[in-house]
Point group: C2
Chain length 216, copies 2
């Protein structure tokens, strides 16, 4: 019964989300903001990656902002805040993804003319965010080698629609005995159009490659 | 709009799931099966923990079985299969959780009289499975220290309703600079009734404690 209602409901919800996402995209374009939807599992390193990118872009005079999406809490919000950029927090409660409607509301609280690049960190998992585009220019998925080498095989939908796949924490590859080459091969087979970037956010490796791949 | 429809829909779906979960529980009890719902994020080590428990229980003459839940693929199914136990695979497609209805169908394919302990590995994330009890006797959440120390604070619902919280991969605590004591303290504050077990599934540490906490 859950399956049936999901499907019946899905058509309208996804269609309405798509329309609102298009509205968001138009608004972003009018304000010359480039927006990135940062998806990926809990603990994959999404927040730290964005923090590292923000520090570099700031040093180049690019004005960054962030929206932190989580089920609950202000942990990520406070981390972004400490970098001196405008941040908004969205707590989804029971929803396992952001949606275009919540982003539209959040835009109303932000000084959009003062932003060049906006990072939207989605709720941490590899399933729900896939169906709900937010109107961003790029969508990326972050995975950590500590999650194992089967992430892409297990989640073809989210990886298939991403512009960039980031394999993070590669400094831990040996200790967890996971070869990033296996994940890269799976990704290139599933989504040949998608760029795969290897990073070690903790030590700052690969961040420049990621910035280049995002055309920031 | 998504929020409203979710809420309106939620009442019936969750109520119907609860009723089916009760039916599942009655069926399990009639067959003297103890069932464990194994929740937790992708890559937290759910499969390996169950594999280690199964090996120990098998050596004690306890008949185990498993249901592997994933969005896509047969990776976990094949891992369980290699231990010589009955396994069923559930691919949820786009659903980020198992539900009682899918479990009820799966039971019809299993020789329930030949099972003492059944492990049901839920889809990997810390949000969706919380709302959908399956009728198991225990629900556990597995997290890995590699996910960071803020997992419990960020996901109060799933941790609040769990019988056992497993903090896995503690052998990596130092290298990822995450102190299991912080996670344990958060868990004990949020859910004082819940047992917290530290494990290193890869090297077999803490598995006996986990078996004891599950009363297997």
């Amino acid at each position: 019964m859950h399956d049936v209602t999901s499907v019946e409901l899905g058509i309208d919800v996804l269609g309405m989300n798509k329309k609102l996402a298009d509205d968001n995209r138009n608004l972003l374009d009018r304000h010359n903001i480039k927006a990135i939807d940062v998806m990926g599992s809990i603990g994959s390193g999404k927040t730290l990656l964005v923090e590292k990118i923000v520090d570099i872009l700031k040093s180049r005079g690019i004005k960054c902002a962030a929206i932190a999406g989580d089920v609950s809490g202000e942990d990520d919000y406070n981390r972004y805040k400490s970098h001196g950029i405008p941040v908004e927090n969205i707590n989804t409660g029971k929803d396992c993804h952001l949606n275009a409607h919540s982003i539209e509301h959040t835009f109303q609280k932000m000084a959009l003319d003062d932003i060049d690049v906006l990072f939207i960190e989605n709720v941490g998992n590899l399933v729900c965010p896939a169906d709900f585009p937010l109107g961003t220019h790029k969508r990326i998925v972050v995975i950590s080698v500590t999650e194992g080498d089967d992430m892409v095989r297990k989640h073809p939908i989210i990886f298939g629609l991403s512009d960039v796949i980031v394999i993070n924490k590669i400094d831990l590859s040996e200790v967890v005995e996971v070869d990033p080459k296996v994940i890269t091969a799976d990704a290139q087979k599933l989504a040949p159009h998608t760029k795969v970037i290897l990073t070690d956010a903790k030590h700052g490796d690969g961040i420049e490659d990621l910035i280049t791949s995002l055309e920031l």
